[in-house]
Every structure is written in C-alpha cells, then in structure tokens.
Assembly symmetry: D2
Homo-oligomer: 431 residues x 4
C-alpha cells in the first residue's frame, strides 16, 4: 500500500468543505459543454489519465547567479526529494513519476531508492545527465565544454557519465535519457562551430550505441545560458539535425523557455510532430529568458496553443506521436511543492481547454480562411473555465479538490522543516 | 564595348585626386600585413574577384506601410533600373549582375532586355518570383496565401508563376530561382501549421520539377512580416527541411534581417554549410526587425563574423560550398545608388577582414580553449582598416577610388531626374 | 432618433435565439460570483458604462509595405467610415465615439460631418494629426522629419497642421489631440539626438499653446518603424519627459505594440499612473513588433494585467486618473467591422475580469509576500468566463448578444460592397 | 613609491620587442590623421588621461546559476583583489581606481586596506552596496525584497547597510555610492508596482540624506534578473524618476547589458545627458541578456556609438556632464586580469575613435539630412585602427605596449596560484 506523506483525513476534510460547490460547478459546466456537443465525462477521463513528470531538483529552492535564498524544510537528498514529490502526486494525482538528475541524485544503493519510490507509489521518468557542472572529485573539468570539448579525454568522461546514467535508469525503470549540455562559447572565435558540432555528434553517437532497445534519447536545445555567445545545441533546427543523425530512438525535447524572443513555439512543436521528432517537453513559463517560472503563470494562452497542437496531433493520430511531459522550473520565491502542484494543474488545464476546441468547426474555418472565426474558436475554448473538470479528475482519483489549500492545511512544510536541517544559503558572488 | 552611364573622365578626375594618398596607404598596409605574413596582393586579388548581385527593386526608393517618399530621378521600368545598376557596377566593379523580380520587371521583349543588359556589361543573377502581392488583373488573390493556400487553384497559379519565372530566367541567363513567400497567418487558429506546410511542400515540388539541371532553387526563411502570428517558412530549421525534401538543387537563402532578436546568425550559416545546404545571402543590416538597412551600417562586426564563417569554409574547401551573394535592402532616406555602392563595399570589407584572420593561430587558440586570444585574433583582423585594399581593387578594375564622391561629381542623379518623370508618393493609409 | 445601419429585427431575431442560454449562463455566473461576495449586477453595470473609441482608419483594410489586399465594400471617405463605425457601436454598444485622422478624414463641410455623426449617434474622440506621410500638394515633405525636422519651415508646417487639427476637433466636439510622429533616423549619425529632441519639444510647445483649456494633448511613443535606427519619441521615458516639459494638459499615450520585446507594459502603465501622466491607450495585440493585431488575440493575459492596473487605480482613486481608451489596429485579413467589434469586446472582457479580482485578498498576499496565492488570485479572476456579463451588457443597452453572428446575418458587408466601388489594391514594390 | 606586482624588467623586455613597430605604426597613423586635420598627439594625450574603474569582484572567476568553475590563483579577499587590480593598472595605466562591493569586501581594518591600496597606487571609486543577497548572520532576509520590501524592518536594515557603505567609502576616499537592487517579483500579482516603488523611494530618500555634500548617488536600472516578472528599477524611465525625486546629487547609471532586446542605448545616454542625469556606466558587452561579457567583444560599434554621444557632450560642454566610468563583467572562461585589461583597452579604443570623428562635417551632414554621408562619417572614424594611439598612451605612462603578452610573460597567474589556496567550485544545483 502506498505510503502517504499527508494524512488522508486532512485531505478528506478539505475536500468535504469544497465538494458541494465543485459538484454544482461541474454539473453546470457539463450542461454548457453538452450544448456544444461535448461529453464532459470524456474530457474528465482524459484529464485524469494525463500525467506529467516532476523534476527531482525542482523540490529544492532555486536561485540565480546572484543568490539563492533557502527555505525551511528543504530536501537534503533524493529520499527527501521523493517524499516531497509524493506529496505533489498525492494531492494532484497528476505526477506519478520523478525525473532524476545525476550526479545530484546519485546513491550507493539503487535498490533502496527504488524501494523508497515504490513505497510512495512513484516511478521514474527520463534520467538527466549533467555535464554542465563539475562534480566533486571529477577528473576533467567541464568548464570549457563536455561532449563537444576539444579534449578527447574530457569528451570520453562525459560520454561515460551518460552511459552510467543509462545504467542507473535501467536499474530504476526509466525508459529515456535526457541530454542537455551547456557547451558553447562566450566570445566570437572561441569555438569553431563546425568542429564543435562534429565532436558533439561523435560523442552522442557513442552514447546512443548504449541506449537500450526500448529507450528513447531526448536532446534539448537552448538559445543561450550558461554560454553567452554561442551554444552548440542552440535551437530546434540543430536539435532536429541531431535527432536525424542519431537515429530513430532520438527525439527533440522542447523547453518552453529556451527560445529567442517572440519565437512561435507552437509552430516548432507542429514541425517536430510532422517530421516525427517531437520527444516531449520541459514545461515552465518565462517572460525574458530561461526564467523557469511556474507553467502558465506568464502567458497561459501560449501554453494552450502548444496543447492545441498536441491534441490536434493526438486526434489525427499523427505517426510516432508520443511526447513525454515533464516540468522543469526554478522555484526561487515560492514553496516548490506548491509551485509544482499548481504547474501540474496548469498543464492539465491547457490540455482540457485544447480538448474542448471544436475541431470540426476549426477545420472548416481554416479551409475557408475565415481567420476571425478560426481565432474565435480557439479563444472560446481557452476562456472556458475548466477548473471543475480538473478538480473532479483529482477528486475521483483520490487527490485534493484544492491541492494548495489541503497542503497548507496539512502543515507538511512545517513538519519537514523541523526534521530536516537548514541548507546553507549561497550564490552570492557568482556574478 | 560597354556603355558607361558615368563619363569616364569624371571618374578619372576624381581618382587622380585620390591616387597618391591611396597608394601611400596601400603601401603602408602592405607592409603591416607583410609583418603578419600576409601578401596584400593576394587579398586584393580575391577582393577584386568577389562580386555581389544588386536587386533591381533596390534602385527605387523604398518605403514603409506608413508612407513612401519618392526621390528625384526614380527609375520607371527595368531599363531605367539597369541603367542605375550599371552605374553601381561601373564605380564599384563589384556588382556585375542584377537580380530581377517578376512581375515587377516583366517585359514583352526579353531579347531587348538582354541586349540592354549586355550593352551595359551586366548579367542576370537569381530571378525572384513574387506571390506576396497581387499583380493587376491576376485571377486569384494571394491575400490569404499563395503556394500554401487552401485553394488548389490559387496554389496552381502560384506554381505556374514560378515556372514562368524560370522561363524568363532561362532566356536571360539566370541560373537560380529565389522563392520567398509571405504566406502565414495573423491569428492563432487561422492556419493549420502542418497542412499549410504540406501544401507548401507539394507546390515547391511541382516547381522543383521544372528547374533546369544546372539551376539552383533558393528558399528564403523569415520570422514574420507580412504575416504577424505565424509564417510558413519561419526559420532556418524549416528552410532546411524544405531543402532536404526538395533535393540536391535546393538550398537555403539567409537574409540577415529575417531572424528573431539576438539570434546568432553566423552559427546558422555554419550549420547550413556543414550540412551542405547554404544557398547564399540577402545582405542588409537591421536593428529591430527586417529593417533592410544598408549592409554593415548597424552591426559591422556581425557582418564580419558571417564572412569569417564563409572564408573558413572556403579555405577548408567545405564540400558543396558555393554561396550566392545578393544585396536586399530598402532605401527610404538615401539615394539608392549610393546606398548600394557602399553596401557592396561593406560586403567586400567584411570579406577582406575575414581573409586576413590568422587562421592558424585561431585554430591553436580554439584547440587550447584560449578564449581571450581566439577572440582577439578575430578582433585584430576586424579592426584592420582594409579600405586601401578595397579602393585599390576598384581602381585596378576600372572603378572609382571613392565611388560616392565620383557619383556625386558626375551629376547622374540630377540628369536622370530631368529625364525621368516623377513617381507618385504613396503608402499613406496602409496602416 | 438614431439611424441604424443594421435592421433592428435582424438583431432581435439573432438575440432571441440566444437569450435563453445567455440568461441561464448569466444566472449561473451570478451565483458563482455571489459565492465570492461579488454582485454580478455591479460588474455588468460597470462594463455597460465602459466605452472605447474606434479609429476611423481602422474600418478600411490595412496592409504592409509588401502589399495591401483590398476587401469588398471598403469605405471611400469619412462618411462611409462613420457608417461602418455606427454598425460596430450598434451591435456592441461599446464604441460611441470615433477618432479621426487628418488629413485622411478631412472634409470641406465639417457641419455636414458632424450632422452625419449625430444622426448615427456617434461622437468624436481624440483627433489625430498626421505628419508621417505627405499629403498631395503639401509644400514641404516629411520624408526626413516633421516636428523635429532640421528645417524650420518644415517644422512650422507640421505645427500648423496640428493647430488645424485642433480647430477641426473643436468644430466636431473632440477634447483631445493625439500626436504620433514617425521622426527618427535610419542610420547612426543621421540625426543629432539632442538637437532633434530640442526641436521636437519646441514644436510641441508651439502646438500646446493652441490647446483649448479643456483639452488634453496625448503624445505616443514607439520604439521603431517607420524609422529603423532611432526614433525621436522612442519610449515611455522620453514620452514622460515630453509630458512634463509641456505642462499639465499633456499626457502619455500607451500603444500596446510600441515597446521593445519582453517589456513589462503593465508596469509602465503603473508608473505613468503614479506620476499623473497616463493619457490613455491605443489597444491592439502583437507578437513581434507593432503588428496591430486584434486586441487580446495573441496575449490575452497581458491585456488583463494592464486592466488590473487600471482597475486598481480606479478603485484607489488615483489622483488625476482618467485614461482615454482607443483601438488602433490594422485589419489585413479580416473584415474590419468584425475585428473591431470583437476587439471592443475583448477590452471589456479584460476590464470585467479585472473588476472581479479579489483585491482585499490580493493586498494581503502582497503584504505577506505570498507570491503563489497572489499570482493565483489574479489567475482565478482571469480564468473566469465573463462572456455572459459582456453579452448581458450589450443586450440590455440594445446591442447584440453575439455581434459577429448578428452582423453576418444582416448581410451588411454584401450590401455596402454593392454600393461602394472597389478600392485599388496596392503597396507592391514599397519594399 | 608604488609597489609593482609585475617586475619592471619583464614589461620593459616585452615593450622593447614591440617599440619599433609601434613607433612606425604611430607615425603612419599620425600622418593619416594629419591629412584629416587631426593632431594625433592631442588624441593620445586625451586617451592617456581617460580612466575607468575596475570592480573588485571582477578579478574573481564568475559563474552562472548552473555552475562556477574556479581558476588557479583566485583572490581570497580584498587584499588579493587589490593586488590583481594593481597588475591591471600597471600594464594598462587605464584603471587607477577600484570599486568595492560591501559586504563582499568588508574588512575590520579600513586603514590597512587604504594603506594597501596606497602602496599599490590605487584609489577607490564608487562603493557598491549589496542587498540582492544575504550575508551570513544577517537578521532579515532579502529573499523577497530589500529597499522596497513590504516589511519596514527589512527596509530599515537595507537602508542602514547603505549608510554603512557610505561610511566605509568616506574612510577610503570614495566619492559615490552605487545602488543596484534585485527587488522585483516573479509572478503577476506578487508585488503592487506602485506601493513597491513608493517604498523604494522612501528608502532611497533616507539613504540620500546621509550622502556627503561632495558625493554622488548612482542608481542602476535593469530589465530583469534576478527577478523574472517585474523589477522595481526596470528601465531608464524609472531610473530618471528616481534621480529627479531624490535631488541634484542623484544620477542614473547605465549598464550596457541591462536593457530590453534591440533598445537603442546610445539614445538613452543622449537623453540622460540632455536632462542632466547621466551618472556614468557599467561597461560590458552582451548578446542576449545581462551576459556581462568583455566590453567590445560582441558589438564594438555599439560601444563606439555610446562614446560618440559622450565625446559629443564633452565637446559641446554639456551642462553637468561628468560621467563615472566603471567596468562590470563576469569572467567565466578567461583569466579575469586579462579580460579586464583588454576591456579597459576597448573602452579607450571607442573613446579614441569617437575623438577622431569629424564633427564639423557630421554637423553639416545632419543639418542637410545627408544620411549616407553622416553615417559614413561615423563609420570612417570607427574603422580607423587606433591601436597605435592606445599603445603609445600606455607606453608613455609606464605601461605595456601589449598588456596581455607582458602579463603572460610575467607568470603572475602561476605565481599567485602557488600562493593562494584553491577556491571551491560551486553553483551546481542553483537551477
């Protein structure tokens, strides 16, 4: 039986207070959708089946190069982190898997880790390698590159690290490796673009050879940061080249915050779907750069437009379409558990809104070039308040109608703050 | 013998005044380069052999959606335009070819056009089709798309227009077709991204079938404008997909002003070279969007960095590397002839600076990750004042040491202003 | 009695079909808001009282520098335009005033114009001067500047044009002059920033002297276009300096599309309110530059955040707070009447959503630095579907429940297409 | 007598090898400038008198939120840092002052610090307060704000810290306080823009009261980071409001990397000069955000355009014009001493290029609206290779002809690496 980090009665009590209003709102919404020919139960069912992975590193407080301001009760190791992740899933029922980051989450005893996750009812999503920082005691530094480094021994070390990640993932039940590197340059001339990319491709091919048959390899592009002039995997164009060079198990991961200003991300998603190379997402939101803010907090309509592409592909059964969904955020000023719960919720919201788009009408408006009504068709779905569907999906699967309220009522943060020693502040001076 | 639109003695008189100083500066620069192991004559020879095409539409005054302010002596037809282009080439010796835009430059008698160009010593570069505006009397409108239009008849018309462009180009000696379309959407939902792109690819394949064996097909991407939400060929990633879908005669054209803010364009150039799909350039400069300003006027270092990639590819004999160079600018406040002459000069300047980069040193610094000295190696070349090389290259090939001065001394603009009736102002109200 | 361009029975018939559903939805929403302590009737009343001006030029089809694609039934003069504006107001009841653009809307007989507007039940909002294009027969050209031109006679002409605009506005009942200029430069060095701005301020002071006592002067900033290197009134900082230099009747106008990428516009709005200089808005939406798309079509949450500032100021009775609301869009692919109706609706939607923000709770969350709940408080209001309020406000004031549907049912566009001769296409070649 | 960290004979030996070539190049350049009516000695003298402050924190290796990769010989305290700064000044003769950051550079014995600086021939520039990170043992955290915090006690602590900085600065001979805060919000709703700014202004007024009569107060704006939705001092408009609210000793500091994409920074500089509020600069370069790269390494023409404004103001003796110059960079992949030496050099380069602009010609071209020749006038100065002037200025004042070469020849980094224990890596996990 699954261990629960939040007492069931706390959740039940909070749910009880909210059930009547929810049921009323749900019934009303059901009637409204019914007028439009939509069966609310179908939507609720799909939403309840929609899951997104939580990043293990997301449950700690994030920071910037200027500072990190720790919060009470921060997790100390992957066991603490899994506990926090379990809370998120207990209340949202949307996040049954956790994505690990190696070496941050490295443990001596993988069986014990697996057992801890099993007890909490959690599985393991894609495993993330890390060659953008140096681990203590590491022989070769990644200061000037990893998989694309000019030094063969450094590249080999980075390749071996990725292979080790695959091994760890196999032991834990992961089915994918996610590779994001910080390799790039800070000055024109520092790197030879072509040779760097050739070295990168060689390294990736070496890793790909070790990929189990039923695994997928996700590569993630990013415009800039930590490199500030050029980045080896800088955009979806390069990412697509990687995925085609590597083979049919290689796919492109889209992080919503990794693009140039003003870029039409949903169109990139559509292109990757069309050419069979969409691996999945790192969800977050941003206003300026890779801000890693809570998903849907800055531009919820953009998130909806991404899901509009995903549902479109789902409904027309686009070939090879099977994206992996993960959250990747930095929680600098909020309780990470709260931010992750609401982010999971926002992702489901966008999915639900996209599900109720009248696609037959949309097709006709597109065919007729009725730009205004096509636009309105999407807007009508977007402005529908689907919260009753989301809450019902949670309630029916054992979660909380209002996860934030239930979480606060539980006193979880206060309790772990008592149990877990304070983590040091830091980051000051890394300007 | 080539007809000259500017009297030879005017040019000679201006050159005479400047020759002594030029020769002194050239000798000094030669000595300086010699200290660095560079033979100035090799550079001058390469610069003299470097040519860039002039756009026929560039010799008219440009404008914005708010207004177009005509200037005296604007060309009325392609014959006038060729005269202006001949002036540019006479003084710079850098622009022996003209790129036409159909139907703007359409004539009844192609032989007469060819003869006029021959007389002026001009050839024809890539021919540009136009399906982003409606020609008078055109059956189907391109208001809502052309090659990607939902209506098959409209697509067919656009395909046929491109085939006609190929025919015109064959008659004139062109060897390439450039396709830039404005197709896209202004609102989320208006277009189905995938179906639009499928239709576009189908249309392009139909055009590609008509491409002569020794021709190339250039497709040009652009982030936005005239479409303001999505654009079918929005970035180099999509452009690369097009080129690979079409075949080995299809290549990507890079317009320096068609990218998202902050994008590293030189890296895109490197990627396209690496994967054998760089077709060439539309040169201009920009600060905000597709500003179409004079090449090198806003960010000359960026232009140099692009040429650094080109020279690098040239020197390591990258496979299939043969970019086509063209200027594409909008001259709203300057005399177009002057802007085009200096732009051609700026392009050669960037080329010359890139030629004197110490590539052996650069390789070593890159291999050693000496970021500072690698950066300095490029900066040292960039800050070398290569104007004596450019001027000498012009002088030796019969051009002007100072093309702007010679042009102004010739009174050309005043003369054509007397001969050519004024062109109406316009654009007001197209907000 | 007001002349109506759409037959009342057409509207009534369409409303009848929708009234039952609307009333049900309205009742449900009322109950939901009541649970949160909000009286829906108060909101509906405020929404019904909220008006936004329509731009006379907005009812014609817009275009880009590449092309303008005309549509059937385009208005030929300001009388036609007023007819179209009357339709917008008849169906939305949100747009009782029209903003003119001189000289585009100049007429010989202002009394006749006023009478036409009166008959249609329309008034006149701010009057817009135009010194960014040349009118036929104009003595001095604005090609190289107007109010900031280096030539004193050109500046004088531009000043006099603005004074004439004030006179026209007085005759028509306007109470404000809006000044937006295209002055700037395309190349570094072209303009002396300081001297240009001094000249601009001198010109504006001359205009300000002629401003009637009960008028306001609105100046509008814009980052770029039509000038592509520098713009004299480039941002809110410069706009604020202008308003303070001119005096207490001078205010800053905020066009949502006139800012740099990623800029936090709602914060600029807050600053201008705080320092007593917010004049009002030109509403539209954009993804890249000054795209002038339909308000709320690209980033509806941003529009809501702007209104969140406005309602905040309204409720705390910020001193001198009285913004003027106007739409300023370019309708390139839609029926302008339809786009303007839905844009007026979107503006009211954002207003209604901002009205239902729980400001007491928000204050507490802000005071407590509960970032997550503060964010959620805004999101909760934003995701409320307030369409029943907007529809009810229209219905009760004599408009249409679904203005687009009623408009299409009326056949208005078809009728005017028969009456009004086709307007020529254009714009091709102004690249 | 000044202590020298690099042996004089090492520098002399390197200079000797380069003197002949330098003198030849200097003579040639002198002749060329003489042809244009410019006395090279005047330029060299001005360049030799131009100084820029070095940031104490700049001599340590920087990092990002992802990682910091330490380098050999990193300074451990402000005494080590001053040693490194002394090397920079010894070789460049351009950086006689150091800007401190408190509490990073806090010491018990200010007299000892002053004596150390005196011995090295260094003075102290503006002192920087730090309320964007928490110092160990600090009572109130700045996690959710400092000078604008909702909590009065936190604001008071931040005010007192700034007052302490003034006291430290007084003891060391500083004449200015620089205040940059990270205050802002990550989510819409988190902060009340107006109340936050009111609190900020109140705090700043309290600090301003303690400013000595002959001091200046510099406030620095920044668009984003570490706050990712809103920033209290977000742009020059707000910065200008602050400076005017505070009084005549308050000025705006411009960091070249703190603006929105595409913003015309030189125009902001011109506006601040015109309205008497330009305090000075934090020099660096950037391609994406606040990248803090070496000055002039990414867009040297932009740096030149900023100096074009500064020299223009200097030559027309703009009232109150006395900007303070400082470098503010993050050296992640280079030896910080090398990066700071070349950055100081690049700043002088831009200054020298701006000094040789033919301003009389430029004025005429601007007055005549000869955009092309105005643009060319700036470009002609920019492309002049002024390195001989810079080198001569260094040589004549006791520095190195080639500071990087002399520094590398000296083995300084190797020596301090032996003396200074390694600093820990870090930053991993602050995602």
């Amino acid at each position: 039986m699954t261990e629960q980090r939040i007492a069931a009665d706390v959740v039940a009590a909070d749910n009880d207070r909210r059930a009547a209003a929810l049921n009323a709102d749900y019934a009303t919404l059901g009637e409204k959708l019914d007028r439009d020919g939509i069966d609310i139960e179908v939507i609720t069912q799909k939403v309840a089946s929609f899951h997104v992975a939580v990043p293990s590193w997301g449950v700690g407080t994030g920071g910037t190069r200027f500072a990190r301001f720790p919060a009470p009760g921060e997790p100390h190791d992957i066991f603490d982190k899994l506990d926090d992740c379990a809370v998120i899933h207990q209340l949202t029922r949307a996040t049954p898997t956790v994505s690990l980051h190696i070496p941050w989450d490295k443990v001596d005893d993988l069986r014990r880790l697996k057992a801890h996750a099993d007890a909490l009812g959690l599985g393991f999503d894609a495993i993330n390698s890390n060659t953008f920082s140096d681990a203590p005691g590491q022989e070769k530094s990644y200061k000037l590159g990893s998989l694309s480094h000019t030094d063969a021994a450094t590249r080999r070390q980075a390749v071996e690290h990725n292979i080790e990640c695959i091994e760890i993932g196999r032991a834990l039940g992961s089915k994918a490796l996610t590779v994001w590197i910080g390799d790039g340059s800070n000055f024109p001339g520092q790197s030879h673009f072509t040779r760097s990319f050739e070295r990168y491709l060689d390294s990736m091919k070496a890793i790909y050879q070790h990929l189990p048959a039923n695994w997928r390899l996700f590569t993630e592009h990013k415009m800039y940061e930590p490199a500030f002039y050029s980045t080896v995997v800088q955009d979806w164009g390069t990412n697509y080249l990687i995925a085609t060079e590597l083979g049919e198990k290689a796919f492109c991961l889209v992080d919503l915050g990794h693009h140039a200003p003003n870029v039409n991300i949903e169109m990139i998603v559509a292109r990757l779907i069309q050419f069979g190379k969409l691996g999945g997402f790192h969800f977050n939101d941003s206003k300026y750069g890779d801000d890693d803010l809570d998903t849907g907090s800055i531009d919820p309509f953009r998130l909806f437009l991404v899901f509009n592409e995903l549902v479109d592909a789902e409904e027309r059964r686009a070939e090879g379409f099977a994206p992996a969904h993960m959250i990747d955020q930095s929680h600098n000023v909020t309780d990470p558990v709260e931010s992750l719960m609401r982010s999971a919720n926002e992702i489901r919201r966008a999915y639900a809104q996209a599900l109720i788009v009248d696609r037959a009408a949309l097709d006709t408006f597109q065919e007729d070039n009725d730009a205004l009504m096509a636009s309105e068709t999407l807007k009508a779905a977007f402005r529908t308040d689907v919260e009753p569907i989301l809450a019902q999906a949670r309630l029916r699967t054992g979660g909380a109608i209002d996860p934030i309220a239930a979480y606060r009522a539980s006193g979880y943060r206060r309790k772990v703050a008592e149990q877990r020693p304070a983590v040091a502040s830091g980051g000051g001076g890394i300007v």
